[in-house]
Symmetry: C2
Subunit: 402 residues, 2 copies
């Protein structure tokens, strides 16, 4: 529902929020968990420009789990209150500069499920791994997903150690095919109980907000381990997420139609609304240790995803699997139809056979030690204020020597 | 380390603990979480005979997570104290009858990882799903595992609703191939940090205790969804565990040698000890709604597993994936070399082609509504007291009608 909090004419008394290109104008109001200076306590906050509004008067605790547990109507009410107190005509409150704070994981993540919702990604990877059989027969029927690891989800900025593993039979060594995956993460809202299903028409009530997610992957480990139960150590050494959760409410103006399906989905996956996709533009940048500036590797949009978030939630609960507030869903790598829309190096370099040329003349097949991968996202629609996601970044550290 | 707490001559002043065949003699001392009558509070306890010793004087909280976080030396010390105060020559303490209590999940389970550590199970299932290629080339090198769902882990006794799902292209219906899987669950102990590896010689320090685990599975859903990322909705509708955690200390007398490996494992998976397997006898019983008595479906032993718990822990952390106290590892279905050692119906009935005949003349290919599956385990070794695990049971409820 679009309301006065989305009005593009709104201005904040926090001047930095009104500057063109700011990720966090008053129409955004993303939530996060921060620690100020040497404080031993974590606090909940809303980003506004380059400042943070402390949410202690509204929300108790040190994680957003209790916020995610709220019904959507309560979340909307809180958004109105925060919007009101940050408007140009509101009294000044004490804010904290983002630069003085460390950002933390937004929630105690219960379960992490990673989908595979981009048909372009599935087809591109399929061509590389199974040229004779790129898109499996179930893809257009089942929103494919697997369970990921919650304990290794880290906040943007955390360095990523190159993992060791079995690269092929008989070889245990640091991965030679370290990759990123450009994804969105979706934090789930109100709990369901064992045996409860969420009909697709109500699925969005369980979508609390989204962030950027980098599902770091070791392709050589993945190839050798993934049959028959799927990826495990190739993925669970680290997953990075951006610290600011852009709420479902903030995304309202950016709804759009999902791409048409060649094969009609089963009834439990058929949305009753036309606009269940979100138009979120995404970019991947690489900053090599030797480079002065980052290079853009790809661009894509979340609106290209074959399966939408409401379909993912309806599918996930169709067997009665319970959801908990703060559970995280990953979208899977977000690739689009064009070569510059590919959301990971496996796709971009065709498994290393077509290296990317960087501006300094060097090449990349997979990530090298010292490389920093930076994900960005923003939403743009005429007659609305642009909103951004901030960054999700991580630098690759060399493998340990033992 | 075997010590005085394992002495088979020990007797408890709790008479029921001294009866032959009791699962919980004074040499066992498993831990659990119970709720007495209508108390709003959950308590930690040790099972002794048919009673429970309240652990409030030793351990705070309402879950065993803080116990699992303790170093093994502290766990051993506590075992000595509990053993001492339950011996025949000790003062009487107030105990609670198990019959007056409801048992709860032992811990807030962070992440659940399910291994695939029985080569007999992998080969039997492989023959059914991929007759041309039963045991995949990675099996003897990689302790295969996948991430499971923590939110749907339930305690023994919780009814299991038959899940709906996509059984094949175009069909969404209640599963027709509902199965159990006989497994052990292992609760993990002290935490590791992101990037830390646990060398195999120290892996057992992170094994806090074990329980029975039934990894309920919907085989038709699994067949259609599992490529390429592994099982998802076929498994995450429910996983049952027994409420009493048999500690690593209680298992000491039952160490044994693992079966020989035809292919030597890589160095990081080579145990320095000879006795890293545990001899735990397991049984599966089926109580049909129409039957007066349960029927034993299979028997096997945990000592047959190709991969041992220390290998699983070393593998899991070999890429730096962090462990948290209260994380749960499943062993995978425990099957042995003989036909009566098969730990699930998929194997026992060869995917329904060879139905099991029950004593009342009825047959089973897969589970029917009203069936109760009961897992049992016990450890037996000459010159030591037998210890048991209690039961892990669950009854199948009909699918909902919508």
């Amino acid at each position: 529902m679009i309301d006065e909090t989305h009005d593009p004419a709104l201005r904040s008394w926090v001047e930095s929020a009104n500057r063109p290109g700011c990720d966090f104008p008053i129409q955004n109001l993303p939530l996060g968990v921060f620690r100020h200076g040497r404080s031993p306590k974590d606090s909940l906050g809303v980003a506004i420009g380059d400042m943070i509004l402390d949410l202690a008067p509204w929300l108790p605790g040190e994680t957003l789990n209790s916020y995610f547990a709220l019904p959507a109507s309560d979340r909307r009410k809180l958004r109105h209150e925060w919007s009101a107190c940050l408007r140009a005509d509101s009294p000044v409150r004490n804010l904290t500069p983002q630069n003085d704070c460390q950002m933390l994981l937004p929630a105690a993540i219960g379960d992490f499920t990673d989908f595979y919702a981009s048909i372009h990604h599935a087809a591109n990877v399929g061509k590389i791994l199974r040229p004779e059989n790129p898109l499996l027969p179930n893809y257009r029927h089942v929103p494919i997903a697997y369970h990921g690891r919650a304990s290794s989800i880290v906040v943007s900025g955390t360095p990523i150690r190159r993992p060791r593993g079995q690269l092929r039979e008989g070889q245990f060594a640091p991965t030679k095919e370290l990759d990123y995956e450009l994804e969105l993460g979706a934090f789930l809202g109100p709990a369901t109980v064992l045996g409860e299903t969420v009909p697709i028409a109500r699925a969005e009530e369980h979508l609390a907000g989204v962030c950027l997610l980098n599902d770091w992957s070791a392709r050589d480990i993945q190839r050798w381990e993934y049959q028959p139960l799927g990826p495990f150590l190739a993925k669970n050494f680290a997953t990075s997420i951006s610290p600011w959760v852009v709420t479902a409410e903030a995304l309202e103006p950016f709804r759009t139609s999902p791409p048409p399906h060649e094969v009609a989905p089963l009834a439990y996956l058929q949305s009753t609304q036309l606009t269940t996709a979100f138009d979120i533009s995404l970019e991947v940048w690489l900053l090599a240790a030797s480079a002065a500036e980052p290079t853009r590797l790809s661009q894509s949009s979340f609106k290209e995803m074959y399966w939408t978030l409401d379909q993912m939630i309806a599918h996930h609960t169709s067997n009665g699997c319970p959801l908990r507030p703060g559970d995280l869903i990953g979208s899977g790598t977000i690739s689009g139809p064009e070569p510059h829309n590919r959301g990971c190096l496996l796709e971009l370099t065709k498994k290393g056979r077509a290296p990317i040329k960087l501006p300094d003349g060097r090449q990349r097949c997979f990530l090298e030690d010292g490389d920093t991968v930076i994900l960005h996202a923003c939403c743009h629609r005429e007659h609305f204020a642009d909103i951004g996601f901030g960054a999700c970044s991580g630098q690759i550290l060399a493998a340990t020597t033992t």
